[in-house]
Symmetry: C2
């Protein structure tokens, strides 16, 4: 890997990836529209030689073209990651995820780049019958526009791999925790309790059970697997998660202990936090573990790191990041 | 079913559907851009009261809006069906299939229509490990842009079903044969042998083994299953095919016998006819058969009907239909 383009490189996972790549001597072009990404997250990386920032959207051909110059890998992370409000804005997932990914793939073809790493999601399994859910689970029925759009992106990448000899490394992520965490129920709850520590409104019944992974553990796996498959055309698909889960009620407990608060918890009720929410996400990670990877932090440890980072970086939660792209 | 919109309603399967619906007293709005559809195929239907033709593309909002007026069902058949040349024009499957279907779904929401029947394809299974391939086969890896785009459409429909209470009836078709057949290797070979009966060029090694279904058998299943699920919100997914297969060499033999020719057959070689071709398509049809449906014609019978129709309708093969949409 000589020169990589990271779309969404100013975001939570993306900026961590840019740090890791640039620290390893890879030249990096960061493409980010700064809708949910933050310039602050790039401060350290931009101080290194060989890192440059293209402020723009993957849907803008000129910005994409600029960012792809001379690259041998693309890490395509930019996306509409707001699974919850997909039904309010059904075009967003289509445009920011499906169409944007098609554009990135065409841009790569135009530039003669054939290696792409893609952050997909455990949401593409819908509400799976098999839990923990392996990569070759029964053909899922989509339950959210977000999941549907990420599945569409995976299909495009696999078809480019089959048709044009691309190497596509696809990561189906659980929720990621850690430094620079900007989006998810933990920051929502943290912000709510900072505003009013006496009460907390929780979507659903609090028993939704999900898996989480620490961002550096996630990046360890991504970087190792890209290296492993660098010369293997085809689609290489990996679940990334931990073999443990946490209920929403348990994460509320960790948060309340951390903040030393005891709010009245109100549940909105129902097994799902919202329409399309999967009440149980637990991915089978046998495939990635067989590659030699093991996560270092437990979910609870990752949650505490996240909370400490929020404590120390008030800017990141005081003004909510713009959650959507327009 | 009172009033149905059939996109692609001047095409091979679509026009057969329009005939069946209108004969049953359903009012039908046909939306077709006549790129591969043929006005001749609508002659009988347009003579019936309650059938109207909107010449236009599903991607044209005004045409779509016109066609959707007052409908309670949408049969969304319009698509780029050219699986073979997807790699030459990677935007076509994205635009004509994925984006077009997203537009149809949004149009339906705007019109308060919540029932959609969709013609998907066995190509979405890629090169499956399980043959015959059931609907809940292991999560496939896409091998063609066509398959990827149809899988993306299915995901959108399922997400609309989960999120907006739509009823989506999804049919994964094998190759369809019968009257008004306009696209596929049988018409390609027929046309080639009419031009030169002494030689025939066959893509691949001729041993590709595929399943086929007679168009009226296909329509029987589609109509019965739409009726069955009309009041059941959700995604209802059915393979439609026959529990038999034919090799390309066997269909060449049927064709040569029909035309009474004995060409020198040249194979281009390789297990696949083209990149992304699945050398073995055989869908498990236990689910549709459990609904009481049984196909009436064997593949050989369907092939002979197809050839007799070509004999009697020279206009349909003498000038090749425009195979692509622009």
């Amino acid at each position: 890997m000589v020169r990589a383009c990271v779309t969404g490189g100013a975001g939570f996972i993306g900026s961590g990836l840019v740090d890791r790549l640039s620290a390893a001597g890879v030249q990096v072009a960061v493409l980010d529209n700064l809708r949910t990404g933050r310039r602050e997250f790039l401060d350290a990386a931009l101080a290194r030689p060989g890192v440059r920032f293209v402020e723009g959207d993957v849907l803008d051909p000129a910005a994409l073209d600029d960012a792809l110059q001379g690259c041998d890998w693309v890490f395509h992370l930019q996306a509409n990651a707001d699974v919850r409000d997909g039904l309010k804005h059904p075009r967003w997932d289509l445009e920011q995820n499906t169409i944007a990914t098609a554009g990135v793939l065409e841009g790569m073809r135009a530039h003669g780049i054939s290696r792409i790493a893609f952050t997909s999601t455990g949401s593409i399994y819908g509400e799976p019958e098999v839990i923990p859910t392996p990569e070759d689970a029964p053909f899922p029925v989509q339950t959210s526009l977000y999941g549907a759009s990420k599945a569409a992106c995976e299909g495009l990448i696999a078809a480019y791999a089959a048709g044009y000899g691309f190497t596509g490394v696809i990561f189906r992520l659980v929720s990621i925790l850690g430094e620079r965490y900007t989006h998810g129920h933990l920051i929502d709850f943290y912000r709510a309790l900072k505003r009013d520590p006496t009460r907390l409104r929780v979507l659903g019944d609090g028993r939704q059970r999900k898996s989480y992974l620490y961002v550096q553990d996630c990046l360890d796996a991504m970087l190792a697997l890209c290296e492993r498959h660098r010369d293997e055309a085809g689609a290489h698909i990996y679940n990334l998660g931990r073999d443990e889960t946490l209920t929403v009620a348990e994460s509320v407990a960790i948060l309340c202990e951390h903040l030393a608060v005891a709010p009245q918890v109100e549940h909105t009720g129902g097994a799902r936090g919202w329409v399309g929410d999967s009440p149980h996400i637990h991915l089978d990670t046998a495939r990635v573990r067989a590659s030699g990877w093991h996560p270092r932090l437990t979910i609870a440890q990752a949650a505490v790191r996240t909370l400490r980072w929020l404590d120390a970086n008030e800017y990141a939660w005081r003004e909510p990041a713009v959650a959507t792209w327009r």
